[in-house]
């Protein structure tokens, strides 16, 4: 079924002439722990269906959950990075609902006492200003299995004749991060939403607790949007848009819902509180599964899991180990390397910042390190259809190539061949230099012999040079470079040619 395309009749500017938007963003992040939240099954994306399952994550009778300590640690780290307080005593709760993606018929989550609460994130906006997003809470829960609906044209449930369930994802540790209502952003609401999710992704990546791949579902955003008439302070009815799978979609989904709400409200209608489904293709939303109301989840304390009381020492140790915030690090790097805003943005957009930084840490000057990653290596990545971080060369290897050029062993041209060799799996840069015989020919007697040979082969040109037409030397230099397979230093060859013709 194709989603009914409703046009959003109002632009954000028009919406904000009448209303103030209110947003609440819920971001689910799958942790990259080795195992699931409550059992020792591997937490791995892309495995064969139902190969990482056990009695616990299949919800078989008699099985008992056991909490993954690393997942708790990651949850605390996330809370600290978001300036949250860590609850002294927190526990798990059962959220009851019947749906085949949860074989137990309840999801273990947290309810009244989430592990971390009351924080904020100062989010950098496009114009360089900062927007503070208040964080309500972040809590631990488990992900659901994956359903495949058979018989429906689009894979959604409507029209499906039956569903197939893969429980590999069932029980994967999930952290849900919930903002307080974001009020006052006005026309910038869609941008603030995107900027928040971007900043959150960067923070989580910096913490190393999740792959944060929106395209693979390891980070997912639900956007709650409502409008309140200008000058009032009572929130309007909200809708919750799911399936927002990219940063750009976060912005589009909020913009679309703002326009749609305004259209309904200004024509005298009312907004129905519902879950809506975002369609990436059309940029629109359509009504989704009618949700159980909150009371219907009948939350109650999970009797099988004792409470958590993170010690102050543990929390302070984790706090001391927090990395620098990504944008603070970027600002520092920009100053240290003397980059323009545009150069920095290009590095960030190409996912090259960490690679360049690591290359610099491995001893390369910032300018050379940056130049390799943004030009030649970017071309190679594009040609191979992979991202820069996926390229089969490490920052340390790039730094070694830079060093070989700096010490005169390689020309830039040879250096590119060495990089090609590393990418082709021929080993470390030094192995490629040896294996392909790529070092610059710096043996003066060998070079002189090559020059003499070239002069002898082209006596008429040699004569011109001797007659003072030094420009003619280029042809001899070219011949020598060809004879040495480009491995000579052209400037030195030029000098030798002139010396030999003196």
């Amino acid at each position: 079924m194709t989603a009914t395309v409703e046009s959003a009749p109002y632009t954000v500017e028009e919406v904000c002439e009448h209303f103030d938007p209110v947003m609440g963003l819920e971001v689910h992040v799958e942790l990259n722990t080795a195992t699931k939240m409550f059992c020792g099954c591997a937490n791995r994306f892309g495995a064969e269906p139902n190969t990482n399952v056990c009695p616990v994550c299949l919800g078989l009778p008699g099985s008992l959950p056991r909490v993954n300590g690393t997942a708790v640690e990651s949850a605390i780290k996330i809370g600290l990075a978001l300036n949250c307080q860590v609850r002294e005593r927190s526990g798990f709760a059962r959220k009851n609902y019947f749906y085949p993606d949860m074989p137990k018929n309840f999801q273990i989550s947290q309810y009244e006492d989430p592990i971390v609460f009351d924080g904020h994130l100062d989010v950098p906006l496009d114009d360089g200003s900062t927007w503070r997003v208040e964080i309500e809470r972040a809590h631990m829960e488990e992900d659901t299995g994956k359903s495949l609906h058979i018989g429906g044209a689009t894979g959604r449930i409507h029209g499906a004749d039956h569903s197939l369930l893969d429980y590999n994802r069932s029980g994967v540790p999930l952290i849900e991060i919930v903002t307080k209502p974001i009020i006052g952003a006005g026309v910038r609401a869609p941008e603030v939403a995107r900027a928040y999710v971007t900043a959150l992704r960067d923070v989580l990546r910096g913490l190393g607790v999740s792959d944060v791949r929106m395209d693979q579902g390891s980070m997912r955003c639900d956007a709650n949007v409502s409008l309140m008439p200008k000058g009032t302070s009572t929130f309007g009815t909200r809708t919750e848009t799911k399936n927002v799978n990219s940063l750009r979609s976060v912005e589009r989904a909020v913009r679309y819902e703002m326009g749609r709400h305004a259209g309904v409200l200004l024509s005298g209608g009312s907004i129905r509180q519902e879950t809506r489904h975002f369609d990436e293709q059309s940029g629109t939303t359509s009504p989704g599964r009618p949700k159980e109301t909150f009371a219907d989840y009948r939350f109650f304390p999970e009797p099988d899991l004792p409470p958590l009381e993170p010690s102050r020492d543990w929390v302070e140790t984790l706090r001391a180990g927090l990395p620098e915030r990504p944008w603070e690090r970027r600002a520092r790097i920009q100053t240290e390397w003397g980059l323009s805003d545009e150069e920095l943005r290009d590095l960030v957009n190409a996912d090259a910042l960490d690679l360049v930084a690591d290359t610099v840490d491995a001893g390369a000057p910032p300018e050379s390190a940056r130049s390799w990653w943004v030009s030649y290596l970017t071309q190679q990545a594009n040609a191979a259809g992979v991202t820069l971080p996926e390229l089969a060369i490490t920052p340390a290897q790039v730094a070694r190539v830079v060093a070989l050029v700096a010490e005169g062993t390689l020309t830039n041209k040879l250096a590119r061949q060495v990089v090609d060799g590393v990418l082709a799996g021929e080993g470390e840069p030094d192995d490629v230099v040896a294996g392909r015989g790529l070092a610059v020919v710096s043996d003066e007697s060998a070079l002189t012999a090559a020059v003499d040979e070239a002069l002898a082969a082209q006596p008429d040109i040699a004569e011109k040079i001797r007659a003072g037409k030094t420009k003619a030397a280029g042809a001899i230099v070219g011949a020598v470079m060809k004879a040495t397979r480009g491995q000579a230093d052209a400037a030195r060859v030029q000098e030798l040619v002139l010396e030999r013709c003196r």
Partner: protein, 98 residues
């Protein structure tokens, strides 16, 4: 005194995905009413007693993040009424999404 109505029972039955006949609604509403009344005795406990969900005085029972063997897939699927393509096959989910 609680007051469980037929509508409450119908709602609960829907949440539990159970088909309940009209006659059963009457029977169950009476029975559930009695159960809720009994449970509501908990309300007689003084307010200064904290809610208790755990009787074992343990905290921070954590497992190291180390993988343990999963079930072989055929074993995992063995108890399923139906399986297809290595997955559990379930009936169409009715009326859940339009």
């Amino acid at each position: 005194m609680s007051d469980i109505t037929r509508d409450d029972v119908a709602h609960l039955a829907r949440l539990a995905r159970l088909a309940v006949s009209d006659a059963e609604l009457d029977v169950f509403s009476g029975q559930i009413d009695a159960i809720v009344d009994t449970v509501s005795k908990v309300g007689e406990i003084p307010d200064d007693v904290p809610p208790t969900a755990q009787v074992v005085p343990q905290t921070n029972v954590l497992r190291p993040d180390e993988t343990e063997p999963s079930l072989p897939r055929d074993v995992a699927l063995a108890g399923a009424p139906a399986a297809e393509e290595g997955r559990f096959r379930v009936p169409r989910i009715l009326g859940e999404e339009l």
